[in-house]
């Protein structure tokens, strides 16, 4: 009767663990190893040459890498904050709508369904300096300009951020809206009777209740921050002259165009750490917020 078996939960998790180990973990270990070699796709024998932390030293002393890294962090900070703000704003507006709420919510979901590559293409088209919608509108309104949206460094960053925010704000808006729907009315009504101004009741009652929902959105987003690669890749390819180079485009150029896999993998590890830090940060925030509201199951 006392046959020793694997616990059931482990058996159930096993397929997931196996697939992830095979497709993610092992390649990652391989890339960790290759980041310590001068591996070049064109010369396979280089895989067996150990160069220690040479690649890491190289990228850490490379101004281009640091520029891309800084730009990536700046990009993420601006984009995530704006998405949260716009998302919150849209959700609050939608919550006040009395008719057609379902239709509006469906429209709100559109951008979520777009492939990032499609979003990139769409805005590449719209921001095109020659035939793009934006310049066409400006010109038809009498401004005799052809703004170089995707060429000028600042304008290009703006265009990319616009695309990214267009794509991802919905996630925040929809989750925060779900939070607003789930919110009990009594505390708000009590606050109204107690004499709170709308701003006060938002600040002290609505917002704390929404925090877990905001963190869910943040967590889901942070799992996917690197999607921006697709957008940048198609809109500017990191160019012109590296003015919109992010960590991810730099990495893919180093790996595939220059075929310097070892070096690219070292960059890859930096980007992985960045993503993981984001994710862990928001996961912890999420657990804390849940514990505070007593929602932990």
């Amino acid at each position: 009767m006392t046959r020793r078996r694997l616990p059931e939960w482990f058996v159930l998790l096993l397929p997931a663990i196996i697939v992830i180990a095979a497709v993610v973990l092992i390649p990652l270990l391989f890339s960790l190893y290759s980041s310590f070699t001068p591996y070049k796709l064109t010369r396979p024998s280089t895989l067996w040459k150990w160069v220690g932390t040479y690649n890491y030293e190289k990228i850490l002393s490379d101004a281009k890498f640091w520029a891309a890294f800084g730009r990536t962090v700046l990009f993420l900070t601006i984009v995530l904050n704006l998405e949260l703000l716009f998302g919150l704003g849209i959700a609050l507006m939608m919550n006040k709508v009395t008719w057609g709420q379902r239709t509006l919510r469906t429209i709100l979901m559109f951008p979520m369904m777009f492939s990032p590559i499609l979003v990139g293409f769409q805005f590449k088209f719209i921001f095109n300096d020659n035939i793009g919608l934006v310049n066409n509108v400006l010109q038809s309104m009498g401004f005799n300009v052809a703004l170089p949206w995707l060429v000028d460094a600042k304008l290009a960053m703006f265009s990319i951020m616009f695309a990214e925010i267009w794509m991802s704000t919905s996630v925040f808006a929809i989750l925060i809206l779900a939070g607003l729907f789930a919110m009990p009315r009594d505390p708000l009504e009590a606050a109204k009777v107690d004499g709170c101004t709308p701003w006060q009741s938002f600040r002290h009652i609505t917002l704390p209740f929404l925090m877990p929902f905001i963190y869910i959105a943040m967590t889901i987003r942070s799992l996917d921050v690197a999607r921006a690669y697709d957008i940048v890749q198609i809109m500017t390819g990191g160019g012109p002259a590296r003015r919109t180079e992010l960590l991810w485009t730099l990495m893919s150029r180093t790996g595939y165009v220059d075929a310097r896999m070892g070096l690219a993998n070292a960059m890859g590890y930096v980007s992985i750490l960045l993503s993981i830090l984001f994710t862990i940060y928001f996961f912890r925030k999420l657990s804390a917020a849940r514990a505070e509201l007593g929602m932990a199951g």
Partner: protein, 287 residues
């Protein structure tokens, strides 16, 4: 009376502001997509016209060219569509089965280090596609599954499993555990209890998890662009780039393909949008 009047005025102003802001937001959300659709029906001359032509004419040229297939340097859209469909559907089915089993384990069993396992699995989802594509490219090339449906399916399954676990965990948690206990007392094995009772009850949730997985696969670019090379395995997001040559871009053709890509996604989302939101929030909040 004065105070009353001023409050009433203020409310009217706020209402107008609210309406305007909402209207602008919806415009910003809708116009880019509509612009693509519109331009997929416009002749290239008109798209490129300077000064711009604002009254659109209608043509099906781009679609005709697209479906005409690979001839005359065209883009083999049919193959891409088929590849996308095969890869997305297969990887979704497998990811759902694996993810459901994992989600069930998290929802129904207690074990040591459960939170650790959970966050650990999620972290694998956080690995950027580009960063993963580098080593995956080398490994797949070594194993010989690069540029095949199988390789891409495998990669997408691994990519989708963590999030599927997150969602299904949430859905199974919503089902009281007494339900499977009752089924077991009614004579089911645990396996039967799952398929006869818990799965049908969680069905809509599982369906929305499946749609998420499908969309992720359908829309993925970073991995596909490196793991596929030929017409036999390229998916639509990768195929989109076929329309760009060194200095010229076939805007109309790209728009047509974009429409072809987005339509299935929109239809699917439309069907399950309600469950989609419920699943996301529940999985997260009560996790």
């Amino acid at each position: 009376m004065d105070r009353n009047q001023s409050h009433r005025n203020r409310r009217r102003v706020l209402k107008t502001l609210h309406f305007t802001a909402l209207f602008l937001t919806m415009m910003i959300i809708c116009i880019p997509g509509l612009w693509i659709v519109l331009n997929s029906f416009r002749p290239t001359v008109e798209i490129m016209a300077k000064p711009p032509v604002w009254v659109p004419s209608f043509t099906l040229d781009h679609y005709r060219a697209m479906f005409a297939g690979a001839g005359e340097g065209g883009v083999p859209v049919f193959s891409y569509f088929r590849n996308s469909l095969i890869v997305s559907v297969t990887s979704t089915l497998i990811a759902i089965l694996i993810g459901m089993s994992g989600g069930y384990a998290f929802a129904r069993y207690r074990f040591k280090g459960k939170n650790g396992y959970f966050v650990g699995l999620m972290l694998f989802r956080a690995v950027p596609g580009v960063a993963l594509s580098l080593p995956l490219f080398i490994v797949f090339a070594k194993v010989g599954i690069i540029d095949t449906h199988f390789g891409l399916i495998l990669a997408y399954v691994a990519m989708n499993v963590p999030f599927t676990i997150w969602l299904t965990d949430g859905f199974f948690r919503q089902i009281p555990k007494e339900l499977h206990e009752a089924a077991e007392i009614d004579g089911c094995t645990r396996w039967q209890a799952f398929w006869q009772v818990e799965f049908p009850v969680a069905r809509s949730g599982v369906a929305s998890a499946a749609i998420f997985a499908f969309l992720t696969s359908w829309n993925e670019f970073a991995l596909a662009s490196q793991l596929t090379r030929s017409v036999g395995s390229k998916t639509m997001p990768v195929g989109l780039l076929d329309f760009t040559a060194e200095f010229t871009i076939n805007w109309g053709g790209m728009c047509a393909l974009a429409v072809l890509m987005i339509v299935p996604a929109l239809i699917l989302t439309f069907i399950v949008q309600k469950h989609l939101i419920a699943g996301l929030t529940f999985g997260g909040v009560k996790g």
